[in-house]
Amino acid sequence: MTQDDLDRILSNEPQILASSGFVDAVMDSVRRQATVPPPIPFPWKRALPGISAVAFTLAVLVIFLIRGSANQSLPPNLVPTLTSLLETWKTFSATWVVLALLLSFASLKLSMRLAGGKT
């Protein structure tokens, strides 16, 4: 079979017509879509200070832990700072706050992906 034969066969695909109710079906879906309120955007501006504070605290803790594991003595003025940070962490149940934030972020990403696909 030559290239011309292939071109001729594949170019001559029979055409189909959309069924008579197709436009109505599409417009019904579109009208339904139009009545749905737009999704509420994630309040990044409000969440940003909290996220930054958590990230900073985590970074400080990681640095302290690394230093501690390396058996290096901490500077004396940092010990009270670390203690107060840990106290604050416990008082505000920061672990749960961090977990909740991570969970919210993951569910937001998932719902955006499901709702929008690749568009």
Binding site: I16, M27, K118
Partner: protein, 189 residues
């Protein structure tokens, strides 16, 4: 409806006139349903896929940048959805001969062998790896226009040309193997 009319309809929809979208659906329903049909070979599924494209187009209409024609954007959206849809739920595994085909415009007398050969060619296209199959389907849908196929697929023209060449090569080799197989079977019988 021209490209300018498409744009005017889009502006109306964006301004809140949902009914203006109907003109776009009427204009593009034929091409979108036919393109979907080439991907899935099932009329009802083709209509469902085309409907989903229109719905997505409506939802993301504000995202259409006027650098390209509305149709280019719409076909890219459709191609993206059809490719992912077909990868998600592949073609049914029944032989394509068993699927309902639209009526063939050729006269019934003397065309049986041609029809059988045409079906074999189409079947061979669907047996190709997706990246070659998609390029071949788009290339012939756009009347053998490489730039249009490339725009719909969101790929560089060079990539489309390379895949087209490799796809045709694979297609010819599959058809030659099938032909040889038939000859051997005839000889055995």
């Amino acid at each position: 409806m021209s490209a300018a009319e498409d744009q005017a309809a889009v502006e109306k929809v964006l301004a809140g006139d949902t009914s203006a979208f109907e003109g776009l659906v009427r204009r593009w329903q034929g091409p979108l349903v036919n393109l979907a049909y080439r991907f899935c070979r099932e009329r009802s599924r083709a209509e469902e896929m085309a409907q989903e494209v229109f719905l997505r187009a409506y939802r993301s209409l504000a995202g259409w940048r006027r650098e390209s024609a509305f149709s280019t954007w719409l076909f890219a959206l459709a191609t993206n959805l059809y490719c992912s849809e077909l990868r998600r739920i592949p073609l049914r595994t029944v032989a394509l001969d068993d699927l309902a085909e639209p009526p063939d415009p050729r006269p019934p007398d003397g065309g049986l062998e041609d029809q059988s050969r045409d079906r074999a060619v189409r079947r061979a296209v669907y047996a190709l790896p997706p990246k070659y199959r998609e390029v071949l389907l788009l290339f012939y849908f756009h009347e053998m226009d490489v730039p249009s196929a490339a725009r719909s697929l969101g790929l560089p023209e060079g990539t489309v040309k390379a895949r087209l060449s490799r796809g045709r090569e694979l297609l010819r080799s599959k058809l030659a193997n099938a032909h040889m197989g038939r000859l051997v079977r005839k000889e055995i019988l």
